[in-house]
Subunit: 246 residues, 2 copies
DNA sequence: CGCCGATTTGATCGTGGTCAACAATAGTGG
DNA sequence: CCACTATTGTTGACCACGATCAAATCGGCG
């Protein structure tokens, strides 16, 4: 447990939402300028360090949030203590459980992250008066449900090799070019992992060792390269894609 | 494939939605009487036999529906042909993918079923004018997402024994007393399976054989009884629950 | 009674988990 | 800048679980 350096804790939300990096890509895109300002007054920025939890499982659902930067994981722990990552959260994604008494999984930063948090009751009542916002939220929830279901099929039906391959492809595609602020939407051939092997293992429902073995196997096959421990270069995307579909 | 006893087949939709069995439990509960009638005119009843598909994977998303009676499964097939059940649909549940161009998984009846179908475009525009309906749909989608995520953790982290135990408990709880129209919300100690072992296996991501072995193991342990092949009696719920949490 | 599909049981095998040792990297303080 | 330590990643040996293939049995129905 590390101590929180409060320099970044409450962070200056000096200016409003108008220059928010995700203003037009989050659910806020459903609102006009005035509405965004109103909503903005209800929320506040919060910085999280890698590993820091934002919401605990089965907590009373007290807050919801938009992700501005960084990544977080949703974790569901089964009764016997084992854990499974049930979702990865990227910038612009919405977190939390509106309209329900409890959240059913924990939310933890897996890289340093910035989120825009709202008290759930504030958000709920604001949403109730803004159908366009609810509509946007509904669309996102439906998409997330689709994604989750597809991932579910992956988890129970694919072997470790396929899982790793698909994970890397997914990562390369969803991870925006971290360095530049550019919106390189296309998959990067090389990228920096914001987390370590254990997290990959959690996400894929594998052991760290198995993930490791598959990665080195891919390296030996010349499909991957590891410039550093935390960066991955996909040398032969096609081969990787082939494995993922196997 | 058993023959459909047509006594209940094309069911008299003679009258409107007012006497619909799920009128007050489906998303329609968000609407007042007049609104329901309007929506009702857009939809039509459809009967499905066990095994009959309603929506195909990656189809253009042309219809959505409410489930009136029976059960259906959502199946996602991975690139290599393997299939995984990604969701079970019970009466009052909503099916389909509004606001999106395609459905990402197939929907197939696993017992004889009745659904109330709408063309997606009709539904979409109706919903756009009725925020309360969208709100209800959002709530349901959020719930479904929670359920799916929990199931996901189950699939990747639990052993076959736990899976079977949890499946049975879940079934006993969600399956309304099929015989009577009563709303026995509590878990039934004994119930009729609307489908065979292979479907259980699909749902749990196991082979039929493994499901079978676990079931007979539970029978031998005195936890379960099988009055007939298709009916299951939970003799010792507590033990079963214990296994599920193991 | 005899047939067909569904279920059950049995034998074998491969994948991935676990435990343990080891290597490499990043951090820390002299 | 270097040594020392803690953390993270890698490799190996072994084992358990569940898949697969094959065969036996059961149940319903003509």
């Amino acid at each position: 447990m590390r101590v929180l350096t409060d320099r970044q804790a409450v962070d200056t939300l000096t200016d409003g939402c108008s220059d928010c990096a995700i203003r037009t890509h989050s659910i806020c895109a459903a609102l006009d300028h005035a509405e965004v300002e109103t909503l903005g007054k209800l929320g506040r920025r919060r910085r999280l360090k890698a590993g820091e939890p934002l919401i605990w499982e089965d907590d009373e659902s007290l807050l919801v949030a938009n992700v501005v930067t960084g990544m977080l994981k949703l974790v569901s722990s089964t009764a016997d203590g084992r854990e499974q990552v049930v979702g990865m959260v990227y910038p612009t994604d919405f977190i939390g459980r509106p309209f329900g008494p409890t959240s059913h999984h924990s939310v933890t930063a897996i890289s340093d992250a910035t989120v825009c948090v709202f008290s759930r009751s504030d958000f709920d009542s604001f949403a109730a008066e803004h159908p366009a916002l609810e509509h946007k939220l509904l669309e996102r929830t439906l998409e997330e449900l689709d994604r989750t279901r597809k991932w579910m099929a992956l988890l129970s039906r694919k072997g470790s090799k396929e899982k790793v391959a698909i994970f890397l492809l997914d990562m390369a595609q969803r991870l925006p070019d971290a360095g530049t602020g550019s919106e390189g939407e296309d998959a990067q051939p090389e990228f920096e992992l914001p987390f370590g092997r254990p997290v990959i293992a959690d996400v894929l429902g594998l052991s760290t060792e198995t993930v490791c073995r598959q990665l080195t196997a891919l390296k030996r096959a010349g499909v991957l390269e590891f410039p550093t421990r935390r960066s991955i270069r996909i040398a032969q995307r096609d081969v990787l894609a082939g494995i993922g579909s196997g």
